[in-house]
């Protein structure tokens, strides 16, 4: 019985360790993803050993003191308690400072007080791509105001340029969730929130709706295709020439992959 339990606990310890490998294998695909993945890895380097250590001590304690013939009464130990309180506090202080530095980066924290259409003068760099992302039940629409392009299919974005996405919703709350790019921003009706990042890896990334928005919620999927500059221009041209309707289906083909 005890052995079965111990086996279970050992497994429980090993599984989080496996977790550590998950984010490490993903190459940074955007400035945001790079920052967050690195922070996440740092946290895992502390968290996994601590989890393993505490579980190991727990198992050892069970093994060692099970039916112990020589029990000793509890003796209070103020010093020990202060030590582990301070140690925990220090670890969390590290978590806090590391997180704070990442949080303060513009690629992670974007302040929403530049409402769409009227960015602070000089705030948006010359070569930045601006996209209005509007969610509604149950689809996302991407509007490129400077290019005169609108699509509700795959959103195409160029690599290595700053991207400004102004996220809002037409009806209920949705959420723009692109896990492989490290992006998440709720789409709140009546509010416009800014997501700012720079994409580095070309490829196709799935875009999910991550806030319950009714019966179509789990099917509110789309994708973001990151391409190089020339392909991006070609895509824009393509969209413009077909913007009267019929050819907007073209991009659907790649959408279903």
């Amino acid at each position: 019985m005890g052995r079965a339990r111990r086996g279970a606990i050992v497994a429980a310890v090993l599984i989080p360790a496996v977790l550590a490998t998950v984010p490490a294998t993903a190459l940074a695909s955007s400035a945001t993803d790079q920052l967050i993945s690195r922070l996440n890895r740092q946290l895992l380097y502390i968290a996994v050993p601590i989890a393993v250590l505490v579980e190991a001590i727990l198992i050892y304690t069970i093994w060692r003191f099970r039916d112990n013939d020589d029990p000793k009464p509890t003796r209070e130990n103020r010093q020990l308690e202060i030590t582990w309180t301070v140690a925990t506090a220090l670890v969390l202080l590290f978590v806090g400072t590391a997180s704070f530095h990442v949080l303060a980066d513009p690629a992670v924290s974007t302040i929403s007080d530049s409402p769409h259409g009227e960015p602070e003068p000089g705030e948006v760099p010359e070569d930045a791509v601006e996209v209005n992302v509007t969610a509604e039940q149950w689809a996302f629409t991407a509007d490129y105001p400077n290019e005169g392009v609108t699509t509700n299919e795959t959103m195409v974005l160029p690599a290595n340029r700053t991207v400004y996405m102004y996220v809002t919703s037409e009806d209920v709350i949705h959420s723009v969730h692109v896990p492989d790019l490290g992006l998440k921003q709720d789409a709140v009706p009546g509010e416009t929130n800014l997501v700012r990042t720079e994409l580095s890896e070309t490829g196709e990334y799935r875009l999910y709706c991550a806030e319950l928005c009714g019966a179509g919620h789990p099917e509110m999927l789309s994708s973001i295709r990151v391409v190089d500059e020339s392909e991006y221009d070609a895509w824009l041209d393509d969209q413009r020439s077909g913007s009267d309707g019929s050819t907007s289906n073209e991009s659907t083909a790649s959408n279903e992959s």
Partner: protein, 586 residues
């Protein structure tokens, strides 16, 4: 037909019936009351001085009877909620909607969440406290026995109101197979707005059942608050003079702090729900975009919602701290620190709510401060784990079923707690928020700690509750299975979250299938464990070996034969003298 009648009317009708019922009860002659609060109650082992049969259970104001009622009610709710859990895990075995459609899935996780949080966890802990607090405090009963009864009897109607839609839906589906049309059954659809009820979705959904559900939640909040007030007053006023605060047992301490949080948090939920009802039915604009805005709902809801998390878990911590020393043969290490950390958690729990809203586009400075408090609250939580291990260290561990449950809870707490720290770190939360990582994290607590603490208590006090002993071997198997099941079910969800799978997805991309299947297998292990527990409880209550020696756990040896066991010993002695021909002796 009540088809066109708004849900509010139905719910108000239900409330009126209830009010009439209590009015009627209040008018009936006092002889119909049981003995609680008037004379020393004699129940549990005998039925003297009480009406017999069903009437006794309907009219009782004895804390032990009500405690049992709470526990039975909570268990029934747990079974219902667990059925939802199994339904969802069955649906998630496949990527598409072979089993249930998306709308049903949405309804099932909504009712699952509401049932588990409001009708399983808190009622069961209230039941345990109802039964045990007066014994532990050496009090005759709780301070307000009748309020105690009212608080309990409000719960069954609230549960039915909250879950009504699903019942009518199932009945409707069955009836639908027949060539009949019953409008009333199809008007009330199951609620599907998620337990967080975010506006504007919850305002825009036309389903009238949502109003009934909201009133049911409001009612259950009133019940929960009444019970909390009762506990607070009891702990303050019913202690004998020689029982100082420093002598108060750790479970009572935790119930005191929990009740304090309830008193501050639940009335807010009640008011917020009323605002939502007004928005839905009377066109007010509390949460409308042009009014208070959708964020107002989230702030109000989570100002209740985060303390609620500690309302759920603190009694479990209390039970663990209470039982662990009994099976280590030594006192709890750092009693004072544990009490302080519990109070600290209670206070801080009101300062972390916005960490559920990091992805809404909140100002980064605000996010940073909520991150700071959320990390700080991890300190008192971590300390508990260390204190527990230190209690075991150098002790004499007896690996009985209660201890296996307790240690199992300690082992899931490590993973459940540390995964929470990741969610407090804002940048990491941004990618993990609203994914299955969150579901995995909180289920490691709500499945990995809370039920384990309850199971431990059910085994530990089984002799007091029933006068019999449970099947120990079955209990050990059950406890082990539950710990294994919790890890197998919820650790894969952590990985799924890292891979990006959002929560509340009844259909999902095919690459997530394998991990979901592992999780579902884990859930079925949990289901088996639950059934084993149920079988053990029912069978042992009927035919388990009768307990003659009150010192079931050899507590006298280590000077831990606490008041509730002393009471039990007295009861056993009385029973022996009352019944000279003991027909139940083996």
């Amino acid at each position: 037909m009540i088809g066109p009648v708004p849900g509010v009317a139905v719910a108000l009708g239900a409330l009126l019936v209830l009010a009439a019922y209590y009015r009627f009860r209040a008018d009936s002659p006092p002889t119909s009351y049981a003995d609680g609060g008037i004379v020393t109650p004699k129940i549990g082992l005998t039925t003297t001085e009480k009406p017999s049969g069903l009437l006794r259970w309907l009219t009782t104001v004895d804390h032990k009877d009500i405690g049992l009622l709470y526990i039975l009610f909570g268990t029934a709710a747990a079974l219902w909620g667990a059925t939802d859990g199994m339904m969802m895990r069955t649906e998630l075995l496949v990527a598409d909607t072979t089993v249930w459609n998306v709308e049903t899935y949405n309804a099932v996780f909504t009712t699952h969440g509401l049932t588990m949080l409001f009708f399983f966890v808190t009622p069961v802990f209230t039941g345990i406290a109802n039964y045990m607090l007066p014994l532990l405090l050496d009090a005759d009963d709780l301070s307000f026995p009748r309020i105690n009864a009212i608080a309990f009897w409000l719960l069954p109607p609230s549960l039915l109101m909250v879950r009504g839609g699903l019942i009518t839906d199932v009945v409707g589906t069955v009836v639908g197979l027949l060539p009949l049309e019953i409008a009333a059954l199809t008007a009330l659809e199951p609620v599907a707005m998620g337990w967080t009820m975010y506006t504007p979705l919850s305002v825009e959904m036309t389903n009238p059942q949502i109003d009934v559900t909201l009133l049911g939640l409001h009612l259950s909040g009133i019940a929960t608050t009444m019970a909390a007030i009762n506990f607070i007053v009891t702990i303050f006023t019913e202690r004998p003079d020689d029982l100082g605060w420093d002598e108060l047992d750790i479970f009572s301490w935790n119930m005191l702090v929990t009740s304090g949080i309830i008193l501050l948090a639940f009335p807010l939920l009640g008011s917020t729900i009323i605002l939502l009802l007004l928005d839905r039915n009377f066109g007010t604009a509390f949460f409308a975009i042009e009014g208070g805005g959708p964020m107002l709902w989230q702030h109000l809801f989570w100002f209740f919602g985060h303390p609620e998390v500690y309302i759920l878990v603190l009694p479990a911590f209390g039970l663990i701290s209470f039982m662990l020393p009994k099976f280590c043969g030594r006192r709890l290490f750092g009693f004072r620190f544990i009490v302080y950390s519990t109070i600290a958690i209670g206070v801080m729990s009101f300062g972390v709510w916005a960490h559920h809203m990091f992805a809404t586009g909140m100002d980064p400075r605000l996010r940073a401060s909520f991150m700071a408090v959320s990390l700080a609250i991890a300190i008192p939580s971590a300390i508990k784990e260390f204190n527990w291990i230190a209690t075991m260290w150098n002790g004499r561990l007896r690996l009985t079923a209660p201890l296996i449950c307790v240690i199992g809870a300690m082992s899931t707490f490590v993973v459940g707690g540390i995964t929470g720290v990741f969610l407090a770190a804002v940048p990491v939360d941004l990618v993990l928020h609203d994914t299955h990582y969150v579901v995995g994290h909180f289920h490691l607590i709500v499945v990995g700690i809370i039920p384990l603490a309850m199971f431990a208590a059910s085994y530990y006090w089984f002799p007091i509750l029933t006068g019999r002993m449970y099947n120990r071997r079955l209990a050990r198997v059950q406890a082990t299975l539950l710990v294994v099941g919790a890890f197998v079910t919820f650790v894969p969800l952590l990985v799924l979250g890292y891979l990006g799978m959002p929560r509340r997805y009844g259909v999902y991309p095919a690459e997530f299938v394998p991990l979901n299947q592992v999780a579902s297998i884990g859930a079925f292990i949990l289901g088996v464990s639950l059934v084993l527990w149920l079988v053990n409880m029912i069978q042992s209550a009927r035919v388990g070996t009768i307990v003659d020696d009150a010192d079931v756990w050899n507590l006298k040896e280590t000077d831990q034969f606490t008041r509730e066991w002393q009471w039990f010993e007295k009861r056993l002695a009385e029973r022996r003298s009352e019944r000279p021909d003991p027909d139940e002796e083996p």
